[in-house]
Every structure is written in structure tokens, then in C-alpha cells.
């Protein structure tokens, strides 16, 4: 079973995230970044599947130089090899272009049995790259899996929907996105950290994928950010300490604000 996991390098949610003033793109360089926490679940699930059988886990990222850190973490967790697609032309790409580059990279890696992604990136939280990738690769897509099992040529997942808990079956090869309910990602062990140093990391540019620079980047984006405004920080309101009448005061506030 050969699995490709898409991992993204994102600005640390604990630090202040912002935009580049010059071109309205997400600032990924000026802030500390890391492997998107939600993609750790995808890596873990791939490792578990391969450990239970055989095969290989390849992690792939599209991102700037620093994105190598995200690959390193995935290799330390146990992935077998990594592919880093980087090219100055990619800066400012939207999900449409990112999915194009990822799709071409996955084709070049070979035909995996399974492509696993996170449920959303912690910076964009669009949750659209998985569906776009599936569309481009012509794969069935099963998203937001909170349980996953493989049986011969099918993958079965459970998904917690609003109206129902669903079981969904897809034929392999397929693309699955996983939620943070699916497993508990491992911490890299000392052995894993040492082993990762010797694992292959391939670096590909757009030309290696046959993607033209005009298809990606800010200029090629199909939607355009016209402006952004920082929401004024919320001003702290009134805080009362409960001296036996906290609930009453709360109700008075609700009444004054016309919620009751």
C-alpha cells in the first residue's frame, strides 16, 4: 500500500498572523511556522496503515524554503520519504493553483493507493484543497474521516455529520481527509529523529512537474483580495465577581441587551 500524505507548513497559530502589506498574501515568512497540527493526524493515519501491512509513506508539501521543517517533522514521525515542491513563482498561489501543483507532484511520485490530507489547514481553514485534488486526480473523495479502515480494494470511513453518522465506502485509489478525532499523533522518538536525517527529500521546481509559471502565483489567482482590515480588538466589558448574585446580574445584563 503506497500512501501519499499532503502536509502544509503554516504560521504558528499561537503567534500573530498577518498579511503582506505589499500584495495582500498571507505572511508565511515573517512569522514562525510549523507542520500544520491537523496534518499530523494524516501522517499518523498513514503510518498506522503501512505499519499494519506493507508499503511506503511519502509526504509532499508545496511551500517556501521553511516548509522543509514540516517535511522534517513528518519524516521524524516515521514517513519514508519526502517531496518538497518549491519555486519562487508559487508565492501567492490560491487553493486552485496549489491543488494543481500538488496534483502534478502526486502524479510524478507515482500512482498511490491512497492520498491522505488533513481536514483543513490551520491558516486558511478552507478545506477545499482535498476536493480540488480529488477532482484533478479523478479520484473518489471521502472527507472528514473520524475512523478509517482498508479492506482489499476499498476504503471505509465513518464521518460524524450534523444529521447523521455515516459510513462511506470508496474504491481505491481514493483520497481521504481525516479529522483530529481519528487518532493521537505520535511524538517523534529519538530514533525517529536520527533516522530522519538519512531519509531522502526530493526538491522539485515547477519545470520538473511540467507546470507553467503562468498557471500559479498571485497573477494566476482566480480570485483577488482587494483589501483587508484588522478587526479592532474586542474591548473587555464588565466583569463581576459572584457574591451570591452573579446569576441575577447576568440576567440583568441579558435583559438590558434585550436578549430576554
Amino acid at each position: 500500500m503506497n500512501i501519499v500524505v499532503c502536509v502544509k507548513y503554516v504560521p504558528d497559530a499561537q503567534s500573530d498572523r498577518t498579511f503582506n502589506e505589499s500584495d495582500n498574501t498571507t505572511d508565511r515568512v515573517g512569522v514562525d511556522g510549523l507542520l500544520s497540527e491537523l496534518d499530523e493526524y494524516a501522517v499518523e493515519e498513514a503510518l498506522k496503515l503501512v505499519e499494519a501491512g506493507e508499503g511506503e509513506v511519502t509526504v509532499v508539501t508545496v511551500g517556501p524554503d521553511q516548509a522543509a521543517d514540516a517535511l522534517k517533522k513528518a519524516l521524524q514521525m516515521g514517513a519514508d520519504k519526502a517531496v518538497h515542491v518549491k519555486d519562487d513563482a508559487i508565492h501567492g498561489s490560491d487553493a486552485v493553483a496549489t491543488s494543481l501543483v500538488l496534483a502534478e507532484a502526486i502524479k510524478k511520485i507515482g500512482s498511490p493507493d491512497l492520498v491522505i490530507t488533513g481536514m483543513a489547514s490551520t491558516d486558511g481553514t478552507m478545506s477545499v484543497v482535498p476536493a480540488m485534488l480529488a477532482e484533478r486526480l479523478g479520484l473518489p473523495q471521502v472527507t472528514f474521516a473520524s475512523e478509517l479502515s482498508i479492506d482489499g480494494s476499498t476504503v471505509t470511513i465513518r464521518r460524524d455529520g450534523d444529521a447523521a453518522s455515516e459510513t462511506i465506502v470508496a474504491t481505491l485509489p481514493a483520497l481521504v481527509s481525516v479529522t483530529d478525532q481519528i487518532n493521537e499523533p505520535r511524538f517523534p522518538s529519538f530514533k525517529g529523529i536520527m533516522a530522519a536525517k538519512k531519509k531522502p527529500v526530493e526538491e522539485w521546481a515547477l519545470a520538473d512537474l511540467g507546470v507553467d509559471a503562468s498557471q500559479v502565483g498571485l497573477e494566476a489567482a482566480w480570485s483577488k483580495v482587494e483589501s483587508f482590515t484588522k478587526r479592532p480588538p474586542r474591548e473587555q466589558g464588565q466583569i463581576v465577581t459572584d457574591d451570591g448574585d452573579g446569576g441575577t446580574k447576568l440576567a440583568e445584563f441579558l435583559y438590558a441587551q434585550k436578549f430576554v
Binding site: S127, V128, G138, A164, Q181, L250, V260
Partner: protein, 319 residues
């Protein structure tokens, strides 16, 4: 006027409020045409007409209803071509976003997800507003290629009535074999709580680890306000409340008129799901809890004392 396609969100023909919102928005951009997938159109017709749908493309094809999102993207792509639609509006839930994503690739069109406002653009097209980075930035965008495809969050417009003909037009899409690769084989319906749906509710009352697993004061207070009940991940992970009620980065993003956090510390991942709420209230034992940085009103105290007292006062004021 050009048609604007609105994908109808419904449960057995009962049209959800988000659809009335989308039809209201569609009228700003052109002439609303609803796309109804399923065989309960009769139940839906009245609502669709009331909110201004001039046409309804009705799709009863079993291939569409059985196979998740891929066939819906295919049928919408076929309708976009047939109608030369000015825009496509889709509800911003997880299935909606996936349909939109696939449709964008199929039709070579720009996509905007999770819009909180949509207006007609200056030179045609659409001008959208999104809220990003856990609500800390508000971003205005336009679509520069193809047919604008926009997924819109609940509560992004106040539904306004406007009579439409809701002319019924059966549409028979061609669904490819490839789109049938994933199928729902089993579906266990959730128990109905009788409370409003979390992402659509005007008021949300959430409980966290501070409830110690006893959600009854949270639920009773919520019911006094007609509110939906949410939970922090800590409460969900402990098995106290279902995952579908989780508010936050990996749960639901809510933006109600009023959000009440009970026994929730206010971790960044929780804030990501609630900090665009209009008014925020917190009850927490710890006066240092970060949630208090966000609140309009906060009570430092024990939720097991404060909530029952507040519930009683609210019920009393209703007389």
C-alpha cells in the same frame, strides 16, 4: 437578467433558513434560480417561491442523491453551462464547500469560501467579505475568472421575502462513472434535541471542562433562552457531549448574536470558532481565564451556582 444558481439545502423537502438567505443574496446579483436535488420538491416549492426563486431546476436522478458530492458538482457544472449563470451560491457547510471546490476546477472559475457578505461588484461580478485568521481580519475579495462560485456562511443575510414564480423545470444531468466512486452505505440519524441548529442559532450556550461532565445547568439555561448548546473540545474528548456540538477550529464556527461560554478557558482553538459572535458572555471560576479578554460581560464564579440563578431570573422575567 442573468440567472444566479442557488443550491438548495433541505431535509426531506424542508428548506433550511440558509437557503432563504442565499436566495435573498442572489437577488442582488441577478435572477435567482434554485437547484433542488431530491424528490420532495412539492414540500419545498412554497418557501422557494416566497424568497424569490424564479425558476427551480429539479433533479431527481438517483445517481445524484446516492453518491455524495461529486455528482452534485457535475450537475452544477452542466447547469452553469446551460444557463450561462452569473454566479453560483452554495451553503458553506462541509459538503457545500467540497461541491464548490470541484465545481471551480470543472468550470475554470474563481471560488470564494465562507463569505459573510456578498454584494454585486462595481464592474459586474461579485464582491465578497470573508472573516479570516479566527476572525481577526476581514477580507474583501472579487472573483477574476469564470463564473463566481461563492459558499456563504449561515446568518450572512436577513432573509427577505419577494414573490418568485418558482417555475418547475426538470433537469436530467449526465453523471459519469467516475463520480460514483464513493457511496454512503449506512447512515445513523442523530437524535433530535429540539434545540436550534448550532451554526444557525441566534444564541449559543457552550459548556467546557468546567462542567465536570454535568451539562444540565448549561442545557437548562440554554432552553430558557431558546439557545443551541455547544461544547469545547475538552468536553467532547471526555465524551460528555457529541463531537458535532464542538465549537472551534476543528468543530463548528459559530457567529451568533450571543455566545455564552460556561467553564471554558478560551484557548485559541476555541476562540477560532466563536470570536466573531456579536456579544460574548463567560462564566468561569478563574478570573485569569483568557476567555475574559473577549467578553462583553463576565462572571467570575462557579457555573453550578451562577447558571441556575440566571435561569430562574430569565424565566421569571418572561412571566
Amino acid at each position: 437578467m442573468a440567472e444566479v444558481l442557488v443550491l438548495v439545502d433541505h431535509a426531506n423537502g424542508t428548506v433550511r433558513k440558509t437557503t432563504s438567505e442565499l436566495l435573498t443574496i442572489a437577488r442582488r446579483l441577478g435572477e435567482p434560480s434554485a437547484v433542488f436535488v431530491g424528490d420532495e420538491f412539492d414540500a419545498a416549492k412554497e418557501t422557494l417561491a416566497k424568497f424569490g426563486a424564479e425558476k427551480v431546476y429539479r433533479v431527481e436522478n438517483a445517481d445524484v442523491t446516492d453518491y455524495l458530492v461529486a455528482p452534485q458538482a457535475e450537475l452544477l457544472a452542466q447547469l452553469v453551462e446551460k444557463t450561462s449563470a452569473a454566479a453560483v451560491l452554495i451553503p458553506s457547510n462541509s459538503a457545500g464547500k467540497e461541491i464548490a471546490a470541484r465545481l471551480a476546477i470543472k468550470t475554470d472559475s474563481g471560488l470564494i469560501t465562507d463569505a459573510v457578505d456578498v454584494q454585486a461588484g462595481d464592474g459586474g461580478g461579485v464582491a465578497t467579505t470573508q472573516s479570516v485568521f479566527a476572525g481577526s481580519f476581514s477580507v474583501k475579495s472579487t472573483v477574476t475568472k469564470g463564473t463566481p462560485i461563492v459558499t456563504v456562511k449561515p446568518n450572512s443575510a436577513t432573509p427577505e421575502e419577494a414573490a418568485g414564480a418558482a417555475a418547475d423545470e426538470a433537469f436530467e444531468p449526465t453523471i459519469s462513472e467516475g463520480a460514483k466512486g464513493a457511496k454512503v452505505t449506512e447512515s445513523k440519524p442523530k437524535e433530535a434535541t429540539g434545540r436550534p441548529e448550532l451554526t444557525e442559532a441566534a444564541i449559543v450556550v457552550s459548556g467546557g471542562r468546567g462542567t465536570g461532565g454535568d451539562f444540565s445547568p448549561v442545557e437548562t439555561f440554554a432552553d430558557s433562552l431558546g439557545a443551541a448548546v455547544g461544547a469545547s473540545r475538552a468536553a467532547v474528548d471526555a465524551g460528555w457531549y457529541p463531537h458535532t456540538s464542538q465549537v472551534g477550529q476543528t468543530g463548528k464556527q459559530v457567529s451568533p448574536q450571543l455566545y455564552v461560554a460556561c467553564g471554558i478557558s478560551g484557548a485559541i482553538q476555541h476562540r477560532a470558532g466563536m470570536q466573531t459572535s456579536k456579544t460574548i458572555i463567560a462564566i468561569n471560576k478563574d478570573e485569569e481565564a483568557p476567555i475574559f479578554e473577549l467578553v462583553d460581560f463576565g462572571v467570575v464564579g462557579d457555573l453550578f451556582k451562577v447558571l441556575p440563578q440566571a435561569t430562574e431570573a430569565v424565566n421569571a422575567s418572561k412571566g
